[in-house]
Amino acid sequence: MFEARRLPAKLILQLIVTLMIVPYLFPLIVMVQGSLAGEGVGNYRAVFEVGAIGTFFKSSVIISASTILIVYVLTMLAAFGFSKLHIRRKEIYFWMILAALTLPEVVLLTPLFATTLALGVYDTYWAVVLPLAALQIPFTVLIARRFVDGVPDALFDAARIDGAGTFTAFRYIVLPMTRPIAAAIVVLTLIGSWNAYLLPLVLIQDPAQQTVTLLPQFFVSQFSNDQTKVLASAVITAIPEIVAYLCLQGLFERGLSAGAIK
């Protein structure tokens, strides 16, 4: 966005970014430092020695992947529908979805419990995936809709003249042009589902299906709290998300510059 051709200007830009980043970096340093206090790397070893870590990661991956798939497909369809299709009273539906954003998770717990039992999905991944998706969708639809709004109507008109149906337009115009926001949606859904704590805790009983967010609790109890290992668990849990973010960002940016659009 900024263009800095000369060296001093480049340096100034670099300096601004660096100064701005310091407050963000500071707590992270304190955190990593904390995770290495006491037994140092031993804290990380202790986390891995919990034993179930492989199972935890597997569950988290399954839950996150399923949630992302559902959220992505439904969000894109919904965003396209709300933004470009002529549906009667769509604004009312849109606001009804948005209203759902306002409910705190804690309030939802009791009804969700009853629902999952009634559906017979309690103690399965579905019990977590479906509510997680439902909780993410209002947010992603809101974001994606604004983004699809930004796709020029002229493109659709042109496509229609060429004889393309709604679905073709969706497939060949909306999906490619929304790649950057898709990356963001996937990343945000990943965060939401990977970090989900309360729902898996309550809705899944089987120890073999528990998620990584339960890792820290091996080191926290009523009368003890091994902060160093809690932080080590947090670092270990966060790394896959950061890697996923970088990969996705890279993938979608490449898609953009490869000229998939325009």
Binding site: G34, L117, L119, Q205, S221, Q222, Q227
Partner: protein, 458 residues
């Protein structure tokens, strides 16, 4: 690919969602009066699940292992929840038909309140009578029984109790600066000045976590005038009682005179104050009998390491009575409740096996010995004492007599800690403690506000 997944995903989801709406209507909402499952199952075989926020995974494993030596055919699965998450999780679980068979409850208003969840529990009186005989009440610590009743029902069996009223000191730090643990207010102040001059923190309290302020305020009030706090909790004397106003005044003085650490109102007892004490940054902390477990070499080393200290060296920690801050000579008060009890879910399909487990851990000699040796709880079965030959203390010479005295004194105490305190009153006491400490209210004003809030609670 996206096209195909769209087609295949869309239908089932639509169907699921439609089903959901139907299911929701059928499921209903409010949990009515729970009915006890008629089929009790077998008493010495089966699979049972046990939910609790305590104990830790390791002691829980030890309990289950010892239990399986006696009952090899009952498989117990322990699910440990966090303190904060427990209520949110147990409430819907108990309302459902697939909740845990055994679940932890605690007296009072904290997590897993027996007053709230006791309605879902089986009355364990007949089971205890069967194992301990008709005079069972004389064999169990009184505070564990009385605080886990739900009406006339013995809703849960206490596994052990915790008591507060003591301050724990880091004896090595006191020795290093030639100090002795304070017995009076002036000694306390002087000790703190010396520590401060040597850049060592004196007394640490996580005053943001107000439940622990109650411990300290109760200790001060018991020192000013024994029994007044307990009576105020029961509503027999108003919170504006002069003894309580004086206690709040002394509480404020602790902040003003630099006995309390700077920034106490922004710290929590766990993990902040605990880590401060364990890492040797502070020499004194207000903690109860649950701190006994850090007197062992293993427990102490792990706690220091957990506080973020590299290469942990165990130190000698000792419980001391709360100093005679009011100059009345009334010291040594201890007050406690059952730490947690095991309740059997009325809707369990294995009531008999679940009862076997709960009574074994709460009333059998083998079960209680395992509890005692963990040094977390004072055992519920009066006759049980820790097995000092297997417990490796950091400094047995000074620590063992101190711990033995603490255990026997606790066993005699009948003063409740949080058991009779409802959540709204706890909140009100918390407000009084922090407003006074911050100087936003005088002790008189805070006591009046507290009384006004307490009067509203019914």
């Amino acid at each position: 690919m996206l096209g195909s997944s769209r087609v295949s995903k869309r239908r089932p989801l639509g169907a699921v969602a439609a089903l959901m709406v139907v299911g929701l209507t059928l499921a209903g909402c409010a949990g009515g009066a729970p009915a006890q499952n008629a089929d009790q199952g077998s008493a010495d075989s089966g699979n049972i699940t046990w939910w609790g926020w305590t104990p830790d995974a390791t002691p829980a494993e030890a309990y289950i292992k010892a239990f399986n030596k006696v009952y090899p055919n009952i498989k117990v699965t322990f699910k440990k929840l966090t303190i904060d998450g427990y209520d949110a999780a147990i409430r819907p679980a108990l309302a459902s038909s697939v909740g845990p068979d055994v679940f932890a409850v605690a007296p009072g208003a904290a997590n897993g309140s027996v007053d709230i969840y006791g309605v879902n529990a089986v009355d364990l009186k007949p089971a205890v009578e069967k194992t301990l005989g008709a005079d069972w009440e004389s064999k169990l610590a009184p505070i564990g029984v009385s605080s886990l009743m739900n009406g006339d029902k013995l809703a849960a069996l206490s596994v052990g109790s915790v008591f507060s009223g003591t301050i724990w000191v880091n004896k090595d730090l006191f020795d290093k600066y030639g100090l002795t643990p304070p017995k009076t207010y002036d000694e306390w102040k002087k000790v703190c000045e010396t520590f401060k001059a040597n850049n060592v923190g004196c007394f640490v309290q996580g005053a943001a976590q107000t439940a622990f302020n109650e411990d300290t305020l109760q200790a001060i009030t018991d020192n000013v005038a024994p029994g007044v706090w307990e009576k105020a909790l029961k509503g027999e004397v108003p919170w504006t009682d002069p003894a309580i106003v004086q206690a709040l005044t002394i509480w404020k003085k602790l902040f003003d005179d630099g006995i309390m650490q700077e920034g106490a109102l922004g710290m929590q007892q766990y993990p902040d104050a605990n880590n401060g004490f364990m890492s040797g940054k502070y020499a004194m902390v207000m903690m109860g009998t649950w701190y006994m477990q850090y007197s062992t070499i293993e427990g102490n080393t792990a706690a220091i390491s957990g506080a973020g200290v590299a290469d942990p060296k165990p130190f000698t920690q000792l419980p001391i009575p709360f100093p005679d801050v009011a100059g009345t000579g009334n010291v040594g008060a201890l007050y406690g409740d059952a730490d947690f009890g095991l309740a059997v879910n009325q809707k369990s399909k294995n009531i008999a096996a679940a009862t076997t487990f709960a009574t074994w851990l709460g009333t059998s000699a083998e079960g209680q010995q395992v509890v005692a040796d963990v040094l977390n709880d004072i055992p519920a079965l009066i006759t049980t004492q820790p097995n000092w030959d297997t417990v490796k203390l950091v400094n047995p010479e000074v620590q063992r007599p101190a711990l033995e005295k603490l255990i026997s004194d606790s066993g005699k105490s009948t003063e409740p800690r949080l058991a009779t305190v409802v959540a709204d009153l706890q909140t009100a006491i918390g407000v009084a403690s922090t407003t006074v400490a911050a100087g936003e209210a005088t002790p008189e004003q805070a006591a009046a506000t507290l009384q006004a809030s307490a009067a509203k609670i019914k």
